[in-house]
Amino acid sequence: MDPIKLTIDGKEVATTKGKNLIEVAAEIGIDIPHYCYHPKLSIAGNCRMCLVEIERMPKLQIACNTPVGEGMSVLTQSPKVLAIRKAVMEFLLVNHPVDCPICDQAGECWLQDYYMQHDLQGSRFQERKEHDRKREVFGPNVVFDGERCIKCTRCVRFFQEITRTNELAVVNRGDHSTIALFPDTVLDNPLSGNVVDICPVGALTDRDFRFKVRVWYLQKTPSICPGCSTGCNVSVETYQNRIARFKPRINEAVNSHWLCDEGRYCFHDLTGGERLNTPMIRQEGGLVPTTWDKALGAVLNGLRGAMPLAGILSGRNTNEEAFLFAKLMKRLSPDCALEVFYQERELSEVQKILMSPDRSPNFRGAREMGVSSNGGFEPLMRKLCESHFSGAYVVGEDLLGMDNDKDWIRQALQKLSFLVVQDIRMTETAQLAHVVLPSTHFGEKEGTYTNRNGRVQKLNVATIAPEGAMQDHEIFIRLLDAAGERVSYSTPAEIFDALANEVPAYRGLTYTAIGEQGIQSGDGQDSHDR
């Protein structure tokens, strides 16, 4: 990494060798417009939007393919550069339908943005436009509009270089060039949705999201994908208190620029369905609504009278919730069995690029908070089926939603003398409970997840929980209080700072230090390698 100096628009820049002009200009806040260049893909150099003037070079040069050199003098705002940007914009729009009013990309389209920044003039093209395929379905998640495509080949390169699945190619020549699937191919690889993100225009759009919301109405909340323990950084984008889509946030320590399709669309299953909006208690004839005070009182009494006790926490519960849950359960019964819900599946090579085999994003963190009796989840379930327990507290998971052993588990749950289920919906498991507590999902809560590599990352409130539901951590605090353990903290931030004092791997960490990119806890070793 040799240090070098160059000047861009008269500003001296100190940087290191090996970077290109787009990267280095960005370091000092100069945005060189570009379409085809993507930091994670090979250089294509085809859009010509990043042409800049370099001293002692007769022709304009593409910034993306120009490595910085000592003493280089670059102009990004010279009359020649400004003129070629207008020219390239005009070329790119020659055969573009300019159908922004019906295009899903409108509002986050690079053609629109750069038109406003660099062009702002009418096209001189008055000939017949070339036509191309409209709304061709590439796969379950991606749909293609050939007329909006600017042939930057980001999508083609993504499938060549990142997934190595090679579904797409450029076919035909000249202004008939277009992107196409290879014959008999479907774009259904586990990372296919990423090309919608990297497509700078409206050529590739998301079949799940499109036509749902105009993007300028979206509220964006930085958060963490609850799909698995990779902990991909996402922006949870909502409209009218509903999650409309996930977009990946860049985090080079975790997911780089990417998000898998399973994670991208997991919010449908995790947030959909009819929500519980009142606590319920079992009386003769079934579950009936009750007040929080009565419900929490019943939980405490019921669990105290149902030893031995088991506690099962969802892998989507935060560290703060896990910390309190462990505290609560151990207060009620020091030798209770506690585990985090955990199931693994086989992953393909492409899935392994981003996905973890589990579906428990905070599996590692929750165990570190003490939700672990060193037996593991499966042995606990076995014990449950063998009627080892008399009472159980199940948080955030539908145990009867598991594919295997459903009948065994149903019988075991029915035999319990007391079962509490805390969830967002009336699940099959909840229907067997003695008390049901309505709680919140990942999008409604603040807190932290610890991914499989020990990176602690922050969830933020993206949607407001329905009236009648209570935050999980609040439920646990009230139960602890009722059980005689008064805690001095109440917000997730306060709980985190308290747990950092108690849990060795988190010592020295603070809630404010986590930021939007997360912070490393423990040794950084992958929990799946142990």
Binding site: I43, A44, G45, N46, C47, R48, M49, L51, K59, L60, I62, N65, I84, A87, V88, E90, F91, L92, V94, N95, R124, F125, Q126, E127, R128, E130, I150, K151, A169, V170, N172, R173, G174, D175, H176, S177
Partner: protein
């Protein structure tokens, strides 16, 4: 003038090894592979002043010297036989009539860069030529000029004839390499250059057929003899493909620096049917057209043609008489380039078709005020801003036709019809 490139073509069965050998063929190769080091060979070719005959005129010896000697990767030699430039048919003649000269030159170039695999990439349409080349390679292999331990020298090289699929762009060297790699015939972004990152990412030299065919003569007669021919900066002889409204079309070999008008009037017999000359494209369809008044002082060498505002290019001389509609001629070329644009980079992909559509409209009598300025501006926006020289190749002739025959274009627009062919 002694013929260098066309020395064999009139001999019956010149394409066979027997005839080629009987005229001294492969003796220079034997000399090179046995007695001349690669370094000396490069120096010799540098001293000869030989420049690339594909169009750009880059010094051949210098191109070879850019290949790194210490690279751990294999090196590749590629003979560019993808001749597709409009009005150019000189390489085809050599391929069909003197394939062994090309092979011998290819072997020397491979030896100079110490490559052990040489490809002859031939345009897909030239099936006849490809068959002849393949037979010639077989003959030369059986005679021991190609293969392992050639003539006891310890040097190995294979020669593989590869047929393209018939795209003009594959004559551009990096597109040719993409095609040869089995990919889409798209030019590569430079840098890096083929000399270090060429075929399959390995050091590669691409030379034109005519360039390579000159090598055996240069070795046989010495660099000084070759350098003695031609002008100060354009050495040796060059082939010219003459077509269009000319009495004696065909392929001519001329000493560099030969007067253009003398060539057209005396050697080629002047404009056909006694008509008047209206314009000449001197270097293949991608070069700017020249008016008769611009041609008077022009000699056929790189510098002189460039001074007149065009380029010698491939030496494809297209002659147009005074009955030629220049609007139609310009549209015809624009249509060719629009059809052949590979579509990779934005200015060429969109601009070539845009220009073609405007030219077409003018030709159809639907020209509008401002069309000419628009074409000039669009061609200017393409020029120099594309991945490969194709953009320039499409933009230059478009602009030149308008600049040089502006009144005719304006007349065409004003009258909404062709006024030339009606006369």
């Amino acid at each position: 003038m002694e013929k260098i490139l066309l020395r064999n073509i009139d001999v019956p069965d010149s394409h066979t090894l027997a005839v080629y050998s009987s005229r001294g063929g492969y003796r220079p190769w034997e000399e090179v592979v046995k007695n001349i080091t690669p370094e000396r060979l490069i120096e010799e070719v540098k001293a000869s002043g030989l420049r690339g005959r594909g169009g750009a005129g880059f010094p051949t010896g210098m191109k070879w010297s850019f290949v790194p000697k210490d690279s751990p990767k294999p090196k590749y030699m590629v003979c560019n036989a993808d001749e597709s430039e409009p009005g150019t048919f000189k390489d085809r003649l050599l391929i069909e009539k003197d394939p062994h000269a090309i092979i011998e030159g290819t072997l020397m170039a491979a030896y100079a860069i110490q490559s052990h695999t040489a490809f002859i990439y031939i345009r897909g349409e030239l099936v006849f030529g490809a068959n002849i080349l393949e037979r010639a390679v077989d003959e030369a292999t059986q005679a021991g000029y190609i293969g392992k331990n050639i003539l006891g020298s310890g040097y190995d090289v294979d020669v593989i004839v590869h047929r393209g699929a018939g795209a003009y762009i594959c004559g551009e060297e990096t597109a040719l390499l993409s095609s040869l790699e089995g990919g889409r015939g798209w030019p590569k972004v430079k840098p890096p250059f083929p000399a270090t990152h060429g075929l399959f990412g390995c050091p590669t030299v691409v030379n034109n057929v005519e360039t390579l065919a000159a090598l055996p003569w240069i070795i046989e007669h010495g660099a000084a003899a070759y350098a003695a021919i031609g002008t100060e900066k354009s050495k040796g002889t060059k082939l010219f493909s003459v077509s269009g409204h000319i009495s004696k079309p065909g392929v001519y070999e001329l000493e560099m620096g030969y007067p253009f008008m003398k060539f057209l009037q005396e050697d080629c017999g002047g404009v056909s049917n006694g008509r008047k000359l209206k314009g000449v494209i001197p270097g293949g369809g991608s070069m700017p057209v020249l008016r008769p008044d611009e041609l008077e002082k022009v000699n056929l060498d790189y510098e002189s043609v460039q001074a007149a505002g065009s380029l010698l290019g491939s030496g494809g001389v297209i002659v147009m008489d005074d009955a030629t509609c220049m609007v139609r001629a310009a549209w015809n070329l624009a249509r060719f380039f629009a059809h052949e644009s590979c579509g990779q980079c934005s200015p060429c992909r969109e601009g070539c078709h845009w220009m073609e559509k405007i030219f077409h409209r003018i030709e159809q009598g639907e020209g509008r005020k401002g069309d000419l300025e628009l074409i000039l501006n669009v061609s200017g926006n393409i020029m120099g801003n594309t991945i490969c020289p194709f953009g320039d190749a499409a933009a230059m002739p478009a602009a030149a036709f308008i600049k040089k025959y502006r009144e005719e274009f304006e007349e065409h627009i004003a009258q909404k019809r062709c006024t030339v062919r009606m006369e």
